[in-house]
């Protein structure tokens, strides 16, 4: 008897968006391409994980360094008001 997956098998399946909405609701946050979203003039949602997201391990949390803030540019502005 043969082992493994039958020919043509795929781990992915198709579903109508309407039916998916009925199953998981309209609010879950999903990850899409930023440029695709911008091309549709959509605005990104906050990137915090949804409650459904799997808990992150301590290692993952420690590896996640916050984005470096842009350093302030040094400048002097003179208005010559008092000269």
């Amino acid at each position: 008897m043969g082992k493994g997956r039958p020919k043509g098998y795929s781990p992915y399946a198709y579903i109508e968006y309407k039916e998916l909405g009925q199953l998981i609701g309209r609010n879950p946050i999903i990850k899409v391409s930023r440029s695709w979203l911008e091309s549709l003039e959509g605005s990104p949602a906050p990137s915090t994980p949804t409650p459904e997201a799997p808990p992150r391990s301590m290692e993952e949390i420690l590896c996640d360094s916050p984005e470096e803030p842009t350093p302030k540019i040094e400048f002097n502005l003179t208005t010559f008001d008092n000269e």
């Binding site: 842009t70 302030k72 540019i73 400048f75 002097n76 003179t78 208005t79 010559f80 000269e83």
Partner: protein, 309 residues
């Protein structure tokens, strides 16, 4: 031509002449080329840029504001447009100095190639990150300055009008010292004794004047003689011709061993070859105290100076 634009600044006659020409032209046309001030440290690039800006007027007759940026603190386009362009430059009448412009980040240098690629137009729109930034050269005057002109991206340098600064003469340095301490009266020949120790540099002249002011203040006597200068030199370590203690060591090393290679000299002094060349040898060569002919050698003037140290 109006020659009174820079009444408080000493020397740099060629620079004054050129800048006065552009100020005259600005009064008639409202336009100024993109200037690039080039010269060694302490020659007055920033002071001249500020004095130039002070002479520029807005449409309503008010003096135009002057914004001085240190380019080494600009990280990228985003930082420049967000922190500087939008809040301070856009739609404003202002003069902007990009100091140490050889340190501009690469993406901003590329942006400037587009922005400053204009001969006649008074306006330039720059598209970046799906936004349009309008540069109005009748409202905004751009000046660049650097000590290291060889490090400016050549196509950007081509778009700028260069103004070269030259070293100050001893007479000009003496004039700067006297201007900085009007309360001090110098004995005859005293300023002539002080100025050769100032290393041809206006900033050093201002520092030397400060030391003299402190010395006189401490003594409560504002008559400064050659003897006072000898005492001050002993206290704060001013050597003949303004050489530093490292330069003194270089001369003494060369005097003792006759000649040395750059590597050998650097090893003896415990310095990097670059620092030795850039920070010390140039001044000793300029003052004809050492020569380089394959190896480093002390000159007869250097030997004479060594004997006085």
């Amino acid at each position: 031509m109006n020659n009174d634009y820079f009444p408080d600044l000493v020397g740099q006659h060629a620079v004054k002449k050129k800048l006065s020409f552009y100020l005259d032209a600005f009064e008639k046309t409202g336009m100024c080329p993109f200037l690039n001030l080039i010269g060694a440290k302490g020659l007055g690039k920033t002071e001249f840029a500020k004095a130039f800006a002070k002479n520029l007027s807005n449409d309503d007759g008010d003096r135009r504001a002057f914004l001085e940026l240190n380019c080494s603190t600009i990280k990228n386009n985003e930082a420049f447009f967000e922190q500087i362009f939008l809040p301070l430059i856009a739609d404003n009448e202002i003069t902007i100095l990009f100091d140490e412009c050889h340190a501009l980040p690469q993406d901003l240098t590329m942006a400037f190639l587009t922005i400053f690629n204009t001969e006649k137009n008074a306006r330039k729109n720059f598209e970046w990150n799906e936004m349009t930034f309008e540069f109005n050269f009748k409202k905004q005057t751009f000046i660049f300055a650097t000590t290291e002109s060889d490090k400016i991206f050549p196509p950007l340098k081509d778009r700028l009008t260069t103004i070269d600064f030259e070293p100050y003469t001893n007479e000009e340095l003496a004039e700067i010292v006297q201007l900085c301490v009007p309360e001090v009266e110098f004995s005859e020949g005293c300023l002539e004794m002080i100025s050769p120790t100032i290393r041809n540099n206006a900033r050093s002249a201002v520092k030397r004047a400060k030391e003299i002011s402190l010395y006189c203040g401490a003594k409560e006597d504002y008559y400064f003689t050659r003897r006072d200068f000898a005492e001050l030199s002993d206290s704060v370590g001013i050597l003949p011709l303004g050489i530093t203690y490292t330069e003194k060591q270089i001369l003494q090393t060369l005097n003792n061993c006759g000649s040395a290679t750059l590597t050998g000299l650097a090893a003896k002094l415990g310095m990097s070859k670059t620092a030795l060349q850039r920070d010390h040898e140039l001044y000793l060569l300029n003052k004809n105290l050492m020569s380089i002919d394959g190896k480093r050698k002390i000159t007869s003037q250097g030997i004479e100076l060594c004997e006085t140290l």
